[in-house]
Amino acid sequence: MKKHLAHLVISRNTTMWLLASLLLAFAPHILRLPITLSALCLMFGIWRFSIERHSTAILPHRILRTLLLCATLVIVYLHYGTLFGREAGVALLACMLALKLLEMRSVRDYIIAILLGYFLAITLVLDNQSLPMAAYMFVVAFMLTATLIDLNLTQKNSTISINAKLTAKLFTQALPVMLILFFLFPRIPGPLWSLPDDAHSGTTGISDEMSMGSISHLSLSNKVAFRVAFDEEVIDNNLSYWRGPVLWQTDGKNWHTGDSAHIDREISYRVTGNPVNYTVTLEPHNQKWLYGLDLPATAPSIAVINRNFQLVTTEAVKELTRYEMTSFSQYQTGPLSSSEMQRALQLPANRNRRAVALGQQWQQQLQSPQAIIDHALQYFNQQPFSYTLKPPLLGNHPVDEFLFETQRGFCEHYAASFTILMRAAGIPTRIITGYQGGDFNPIGNYLIVRQRDAHAWTEVWLENRGWVRIDPTAAVAPERIEDGAESAFSELFNRQSTLQFNNRFLTSHWLKLRYGWDSLNNSWNQWVIGYDSLKQSQLLSLVGIASIKQMAIAMVIAVISALTALLLLSMHRNRQKQDAVSLIYQRFCQKLSTIGIQRLPHEGPLDFAQRIITRRPDLESQILQINDLYIALRYRPRHTQQQIKQLQQQVRRLKL
């Protein structure tokens, strides 16, 4: 093997192809890695490129390479503080691969570089598992495989089209194996090994704290938060409130959930109207809750409903999660405990005094809580309040400043101010954060909820009615609630998109394209990324396999039967080539192999017969007869069907 490889000559073309495909594998990493490391890797690549261009130049000396290696290791360590873990590991892999280019000489080195290239391409999915990335990785794998083929084709006539054709052939052959492994390889619930802590940093979404301005920064993000497929009709936009963390506690500036000691107490509520059944596919957001439509009635197996009617999980959501839900949009919750009452009326001392005073004034002027609420909403509606994504910065008394000075704010400004006013007026109030609205995708028939749909609203507790949702933003900007965030800030969003369509025809097509694209992504998420142990067991239960153990057995059976089928096929092909005489002779040889006389593949009939007779002189006459017949049939010009029959009989009669 070694010698075989030794005299393969590596052409410059092969090296160029290798460099190109490795650059392709590395490209998405360029922006992710620290700039020094990216530059270093590119520099090594260019170095090798120029060596290849000017064939007089030679590879750097071993001492220089060792120094470069040490320098690279130090840089990686300085950047990450470690050489292990996901980020540092990927950086190290990229750098080592780039360094390998500088000592690549033999075929073995090239093969190592190509295999590392595959590995580097695989690390791309650590950051991005989307459909475009999968397509990109396919291209990278194709290029690398074509390079591998180019390396192995010794004939100088290997052209791009030959390599590409062979690669395509190999990929096609690998496809069934890939599908079998994808569907049948046992999926283990949860990750096989835990990912390092930094694996999910940087995921955006709603947190369990809110300050004025914390939600509006989300509103520029087009990232998908989750997708919802409804079993029956899609819910109206103004009822589409996706419940997240519930905020009670405030210091006048920041809001948080407060202590959660009361979570375990039993909850009771009555529901009226029809249930809404739907399935949510939640993008990872690294938080310990799920989103459900107001008000969730059932909890999926991974979550529980707490007293705030929030779906709480024990583990943070770190991968794409799919769950089925039932909610009721009309409900009535039960009474409030004294501690809850206390928390729902909590106001920080010495903050936002003017707002508190206004609330207290309303309490004195107006009779019923309902009247106070209506008055407050009217206040927001009639005063020159405006709804904006770019609210001015607020100081130490943010609610006062917002209510009486700037009067420009985003949903959290209205929710926070409203809560302060209500609590001052003696009405128990809390803030709910989550998402509101979403785009309906008519092609995929589901709702897309994006980060820009993040929202904050309030709930007031009224005697006999329980918690009632009040959305003060609706009083200021009803279009935000009716038509969604995009229409409320249409000017802004349009300016953001690079393509601006004045033409209505084009716009509608652009929309269709966008919906189609998202629908494709959704299917990808549902069926490829989301193909987990649960779906696997569902699929397998269709064919009657219930457990992982059974599946392992089924896999073994599948593999064995596939191998057997292949073996049989090749045997069948061989058999077709051989005529009846060879078959009979084969049987003869098999018979003899049972007594330990094995015909060698290159052994002629005379030699073989001689060997048998030396071993078993008692068989001489039989063997000679068979041999004569066989030679006559196989090597002499004319023979008859009769002779074949004779041979068959003789072989059958041969008793060992």
Partner: protein, 320 residues
């Protein structure tokens, strides 16, 4: 000629001839002891109408073998000792002016003989070597515009001494290909050497020998050889061997189609000597090393192997 052939080529005649050939082999084995396989190969080469190259140490019986073949087959014999100052005319012959007839008369050289022993062929210059090899290939000699056919049968045994290479001109690979077989005789084993040392002078025995086969009978046998039946499966086997030599890492380059034909011709002659009218895989295997070891050069990594070690790999090619 064709009339003679057809009259001789009846099955009975053929069998008689082959029986005589077998008798010849027995006689030969009494002169050169313990080299049955080599003698048989030499005879096979002759029946297959090929020329023979013997490469071995001096004194192992190269010349004796040539003498012996000439003797037992009743062929007229010429020995040409090759030297570095030899000219083509020394082999082929010259035209000398004849005063009586007032014209040039061709005086045939030593090559005009049924069996020619070209001793130490690598001592001569390429020019002289080429003259011999051309005659071997063409079965005729052309000098000064005149073509003179060589006698029939015509058989050349060339010898080479592998050691003491100083002042020699190695035959190029393309010319080695002209020889159907290349044989090594090797030392006799202990028992046979003892017999040889105790026995009478080989030359005396040679002198006493009479021909067991006439040249006409030899010609008839030569014509019978290509009629040995070769089944398709053996053609496949031969092709496998050729392909193996072309793709295996052991050889610098593979066997040529001409080599393939040579193998087949030799195998047929071998089968005939075995009194068979059909070819068997064993026939091919028997003559394979002798017919290929001068045609295949080892690849760089295997340059330390001997030619016979290298061609032994060909014997491992599976039959089917």
């Amino acid at each position: 000629m064709s009339q003679i052939a057809s009259s001789i080529l009846t099955p009975e005649n053929r069998d008689k001839n082959i029986a005589r050939l077998k008798q010849t082999l027995v006689v030969m084995n009494k002169v050169i002891l313990g080299k049955e396989q080599t003698l048989r190969l030499a005879l096979t080469c002759l029946i297959a109408r090929g020329h023979l190259l013997i490469e071995d140490q001096p004194g192992v019986g190269k010349t004796t073998l040539a003498h012996l073949l000439a003797r037992v087959l009743g062929l007229d014999f010429q020995r040409i000792q090759f030297t570095s100052d030899m000219l083509p005319a020394d082999i082929l012959g010259v035209s000398v002016y004849d005063q009586n007839s007032a014209c040039f008369k061709f005086h045939p050289g030593p090559i005009f003989s049924q069996l020619v022993l070209a001793d130490e062929v690598n001592r001569a210059t390429p020019k002289a070597q080429s003259a011999l090899l051309e005659a071997m290939e063409e079965y005729q000699v052309t000098t000064e515009g005149e073509t003179h056919p060589l006698p029939s049968p015509f058989f050349v045994i060339a010898t080479q001494n592998p050691s003491s290479q100083i002042g020699t001109f190695q035959l190029p690979e393309s010319q080695l290909d002209r020889f159907l077989m290349r044989l090594e005789i090797g030392y006799p084993d202990q028992a046979h050497e003892k017999e040889l040392l105790k026995g009478e002078d080989r030359r005396e025995i040679l002198k006493a020998l009479t021909a067991t086969l006439s040249p006409t009978q030899l010609l008839a046998t030569q014509q019978a050889a290509p009629q040995v039946h070769v089944s398709d499966s053996l053609i496949d086997y031969l092709q496998k061997i050729l392909n193996f030599s072309r793709h295996s890492p052991y050889y610098r380059n593979g066997l040529s189609p001409r080599a393939g034909i040579a193998i087949l011709r030799c195998a047929q002659a071998w089968a005939l000597l075995d009194q068979r009218d059909h070819l068997l895989p064993e026939d091919i295997q028997a003559i394979l090393p002798a017919t290929t070891n001068h045609r295949l050069q080892p690849a760089a990594e295997f340059s330390t192997s001997t030619p016979n070690e290298i061609v032994a790999h060909l014997l491992t090619v599976p039959l089917d």
